[in-house]
């Protein structure tokens, strides 16, 4: 019975991410077009909304190319482990007051830890491609994703400290509006580190189109490529939902179904900001990225943690 539930939840998570990715790509195309003085898709369906319906079969029917020198088994199955952890991490998101797909006492830790498996899969896919540019991209991705987990976890820790619980539902229940100004810096750190975690611009150094062509997934095509893309959008959706839940009180000030809608609207706003950043800023360089993480974000996150601690003691 548990197995059946798990399976159903898995299907639901994958469907959510796939649907979210389709909508997310459409939204990103529109947002980026607006930023770049273009129209974006507008021919297929109202506001070009059916463009992605045309794109999905295209990806499905594309030839699945495996390079001759690639380590075939790893090359073929690594994308699954890029996409999988992101889908799994979705289950602890508190969608509304009192309900999350998986109500566990270590939900926050779960959300931060599970997507980290992605790093191994990215490194494997890069290595298996047997391509210098891919390998460089994979190594860059590993360094970046492991480093940025530190400030990201510290930023979330500020909220955990305030709530006194690692259970996402408890955090949402304990949430008060004055946490917003208090943990604003933590949210900014979470926001920046999450962008770096999902390898999006201005931290898309592992992909770096102008340098490494596409980095660790340069040799992938068809649906295997699409699983990298879905992992990126899935990570964006998950980070936006989780950020909206933790830092902006989930469905606050509403409860029930209206709360879910409020949460999704907040998440879309965060997602739009992520896109906005990507389409405005140039890309950092590898060494600048690292020094930004260790010399700016991590100390700042620690200071925020101390400030939250002082406020708690003072209360």
């Amino acid at each position: 019975m548990t197995l059946l539930w798990g399976f159903l939840w898995g299907v639901a998570a994958v469907a959510t991410i796939a649907g979210g990715a389709i909508l997310g790509v459409w939204w990103e195309r529109k947002v980026s077009a607006r930023i770049q003085m273009r129209y974006g898709p507008q021919q297929i369906g109202p506001f070009g909304s059916l463009q992605m319906i045309a794109d999905v079969p295209k990806l499905l029917f594309k030839e699945d190319i495996v390079p001759a020198l690639a380590d075939k088994a790893i090359f073929k199955y690594a994308p699954l482990f890029v996409f999988g952890p992101v889908a799994v991490s979705m289950v602890v998101i508190p969608f509304t007051a009192g309900w999350a797909p998986l109500n566990t006492s270590v939900g926050v830790l779960f959300f931060l830890a599970v997507p980290s498996i992605e790093v191994i899969a990215i490194l494997l896919s890069a290595w298996a491609s047997h391509n210098t540019l891919s390998t460089l991209g994979g190594l860059r991705a590993t360094a970046q994703m492991i480093s940025y987990e530190v400030p990201r976890s510290l930023a979330v820790l500020a909220i955990v400290l305030l709530a006194g619980s690692l259970r996402p539902l408890d955090v949402v229940a304990a949430w008060r509006w004055w946490w917003m100004p208090l943990t604003f810096v933590a949210f900014v750190i979470y926001f920046v580190a999450s962008i770096a975690e999902m390898n999006r611009g201005p931290f898309d150094i592992p992909e770096a189109e102008s340098e490494l062509v596409a980095g660790y997934f340069a040799d992938y095509s068809g649906m295997r490529w699409a699983s990298f893309m879905m992992a990126e959008y899935g990570a964006m959706i998950a980070a936006s939902l989780f950020g909206a839940a933790l830092f902006f009180g989930g469905g606050w000030p509403f409860g029930g179904a209206l709360g879910v809608i409020t949460l999704i609207v907040k998440a879309i706003l965060i997602m739009t900001a992520i896109m906005w950043v990507k389409w405005t800023f140039p890309r950092l360089r590898q060494d600048q990225l690292m020094s930004f993480c260790w010399k700016a974000l991590t100390p700042l996150a620690l200071v925020q943690l101390v400030v939250v601690g002082v406020v708690l003691v003072w209360l």
Partner: protein, 364 residues
């Protein structure tokens, strides 16, 4: 030291600006040696010119620097005119100046835009290309082509300005400087772009002169040399304009002075449009088949990339005996190994972009 990796960047790569191949030796991420391998776009244009009449060579020169076709047209025509002793009507000279300054804007927009794209700022690329598109539309109204114009001809230009073109051109120059200020804030004012471009690929003024660099590449290092002012040709002495100079010789200066050059070009265009008077646009009494007396001629102009020269030898027949193009992009590209050494792979791409080579002109 770790084992060195050899990476082929190109010939088909998002940021090689055409078909350049750079063989990069990497120590981790640090470039220890970068060698541009050219010739992927070699079409033998200089040799082909020997089998065509003087007029038939003009479309070939379009294909040299395909981002700035007007310059190669003009440099070639000036060499032919010098060889055959043709006097060009004043209106034609003014039109040539106007189209070439417009071409400078179009070409620099490509250069700045690709600096944006190389650093990952794709929005800056789109902003620059919006401006470039205005210029290309003006050219389309002028001669029907958007890329290879075949517009400047020996003795003048192929046809007069169409009705209403001057107004359209004025409308463009009126909005362009403010668009450049916006682009400056978007790209060069950005903190990440500054971090990526400043101090990357520093070229000293001595090296710039010693390696034969010209145009924005040399001026970025503070070499105050612009043929429009220092070896005046055509009607340039009648215009009042500044030559923007860089201070540090890094990628930031090289890319950014292109922006100010566009603003100066707008000034020149406005002055030229004010002084433009009716008249002939092509010398009268030119023979169908030009056959200059035996001899040779060299002439150079300031193209968007630097000093572009054409050397022609005539043996008295209607076909050139020899044509040689002094290509600024070729000379500037030679600096790449010097500039890239010791920087990271990410910087190599930026440095290559800041040199703004066009491989039609490098390979010829």
């Amino acid at each position: 030291m770790t084992e060195q990796t050899i990476v082929n960047i190109g010939p088909s790569h998002p940021s090689t600006h055409g078909v350049c191949r750079v063989v990069v030796t990497l120590d981790g991420e640090i470039v220890t040696h970068a060698e541009p391998i050219i010739g992927h776009l070699h079409r033998g244009i200089e040799k082909m010119a020997e089998n065509r009449t003087y007029l038939q060579v003009v479309p070939l020169t379009d294909r040299l620097d395909y981002v700035g076709s007007m310059y190669a047209n003009w440099a070639y025509c000036r060499a032919v005119e010098r060889l055959a002793g043709i006097r060009v009507p004043e209106r034609a000279e003014y039109i040539r100046v106007i189209v070439c300054e417009l071409q400078r804007i179009a070409s620099h927009m490509m250069g700045i835009g690709s600096t944006g794209a190389d650093t990952g700022a794709f929005t800056a690329f789109m902003y620059a290309f919006a401006q470039r598109d205005h210029v290309v539309e003006l050219f389309e109204a002028l001669c029907g082509a958007r890329l290879t114009y075949n517009y400047v001809r020996p003795g003048g230009v192929s046809m007069d300005l169409p009705e209403g073109w001057v107004e359209k051109c004025r409308a463009f120059t009126a909005q362009h400087p403010s668009a450049m200020l916006e682009l400056d804030r978007l790209l060069f004012g950005n903190v990440i772009a500054r971090a990526r471009l400043k101090g990357v690929g520093v070229l000293s003024a001595e090296d710039a002169v010693a390696w034969g660099a010209s145009g924005p590449t040399a001026r970025g290092s503070g070499v105050d040399w612009d043929l429009r002012r220092d070896d005046p040709y055509s009607v340039y002495p009648r215009f009042d304009f500044q030559v923007p100079l860089g201070e540090n010789g890094d990628s930031y200066d090289r890319a950014r002075i292109r922006l100010w050059e566009c603003v100066e070009s707008c000034k020149i265009i406005d002055q030229a449009l004010d002084q433009l008077e009716p008249g002939l646009v092509k010398a009268e009494g030119l023979p169908r088949l030009l056959a200059p007396r035996p001899g040779d001629a060299y002439d150079h102009i300031e193209s968007a990339r630097g000093s572009l020269g054409v050397y022609l030898v005539s043996d008295g027949t209607p076909r050139p005996y020899r044509m040689k193009v002094r290509s600024p992009a070729f000379c500037n590209l030679a600096l790449l190994p010097l500039l890239a050494e010791g920087h990271t792979l990410s910087d190599l791409v930026v440095i290559l972009g800041s040199l703004d080579p066009v491989f039609g002109e490098v390979d010829r």
